[in-house]
Symmetry: D2
Subunit: 144 residues, 4 copies
């Protein structure tokens, strides 16, 4: 009945400027990879435009990232992004970075955010239209 689950996919190839002292992708750089993937995720579902119109902004309150395996020069990565859960005041996106075409996990992260109203200057409850936006997004069946 329902469409089979499919996370959003973002491809990134590891380049020389992503690496650090040890020849591995630097741990700060992964947060840019994850942000790149989240923009693609929200864009695919029209969320960013809706948010901007309503003077709402995403504000990240926590990132919990596991580094599983170093990524090296020339490796092709894919970032899988989907909603993890929606609370009353915040919501969580889970993102997995894998070697493309394999199940090898390079990194994975839980990203918790609140929705902030630029009109009222405060966080918005995850209710009604706001909640509906996130409920409509692809959601991980169980945490990978």
């Amino acid at each position: 009945m329902s469409t089979p689950f499919q996370p959003h996919l973002t491809d990134i190839k590891v380049r020389g400027y992503h690496l650090d002292l040890y020849g591995h992708v630097n741990n700060a750089r992964y947060l840019e990879f994850l942000e790149e993937a989240r923009w693609g995720f929200t864009e695919d579902h029209g969320s960013f435009e809706a948010f901007t119109k309503a003077s709402l902004a995403f504000v990240i309150v926590n990132i919990n990232i596991d580094y599983r395996r170093p990524a090296m020069m020339g490796e092709q990565l894919v970032i899988e992004t989907a909603m993890q859960k929606i609370g009353s005041r915040s919501a969580m996106i889970h993102q997995a970075v894998k070697l493309k075409g394999t199940d090898t996990l390079v990194a994975e992260a839980d990203v918790t955010f609140v929705v902030f109203s630029q009109k009222t200057g405060s966080a918005v409850a995850m209710e009604n239209e706001v909640r509906a936006i996130f409920e409509a997004l692809p959601t991980w069946p169980t945490k990978s």
Copy 2:
């Protein structure tokens, strides 16, 4: 008898290139601030040289960062860094980013790492000389 606890302190002033879409320091950039502070921390205690000589490397396996308050153009930040705990296979550093001269918390993070031997190609147990290096470092009395 013992010296009163003092975390390592690193000063960073927020500049135009640290900001993003919302005029706040970007969440990936904080990981560079934290790395800068950890290099200063290990350097002050001679750990990096000792590690390099022994062909040991720090490998970060998890970063759990809370973003508490946006940092903006021109703000003066201070990063407090000290050991949090030492396990059998990994250890954790805790870092707090504050507005300088205040108790206002901008961000705080737990950074978990293992020590990797470039000779054996595997993680090293937190025992003997390796454990001694981390036990000699300033350690948070309780998690702030």
Copy 3:
């Protein structure tokens, strides 16, 4: 007879983490965009593998970049990359960043590099096989 000239094309969409204080792509970030495009350029023509095998490295000696028009959130950019000229000791790549689907120039740069031999520890003359690699690459008819 000859194939019509076509520079290498790299697409980049402007994201929140690319911006700075003024809401424009930061000037340092363009150098990452240009590096991304050069890796794609050399990769398409097999140059990087050939270089690595021969223990040769590209070393950039000068970048001269004009910033023509600020790029903003959500804009789709395309980077055009091709060889500009080959001297006796160095060579130059020219890269143009445009708003995709238009002739609007966002930035353009001349990137001068030498080829460095990791075996001899010195720069290599642009002769014989080395010169042949660069002569085989797409070359701008005249500087745009």
Copy 4:
């Protein structure tokens, strides 16, 4: 009579996250080092506050950077910054990156900027009060 010339000095120590594929500071990263130094330069002379009050912004139109010698892990750099020349529509800052305590040049750049009025939406002529601000800044006697 006049104070002897002294460029603005900014210290930066090379850290693991500054490096790339070849173990050298990445060429994009130098532009962040230079920006850091220019903020310090303008700050020391009160220029940024004056500009912000008057709704004026610095807009960089060209950076021409020579990479002279790779900078490596742990090296202590100093960036020397001063005005180079003031034209009718634009002005140029020259910046030299050296190994601290030596004359060894790591990189040097000419940075050309215009002053942009956020009120009129156009560049401002380098006249009167605007020109006076830049004329009061330390200026290189001759290009190093």
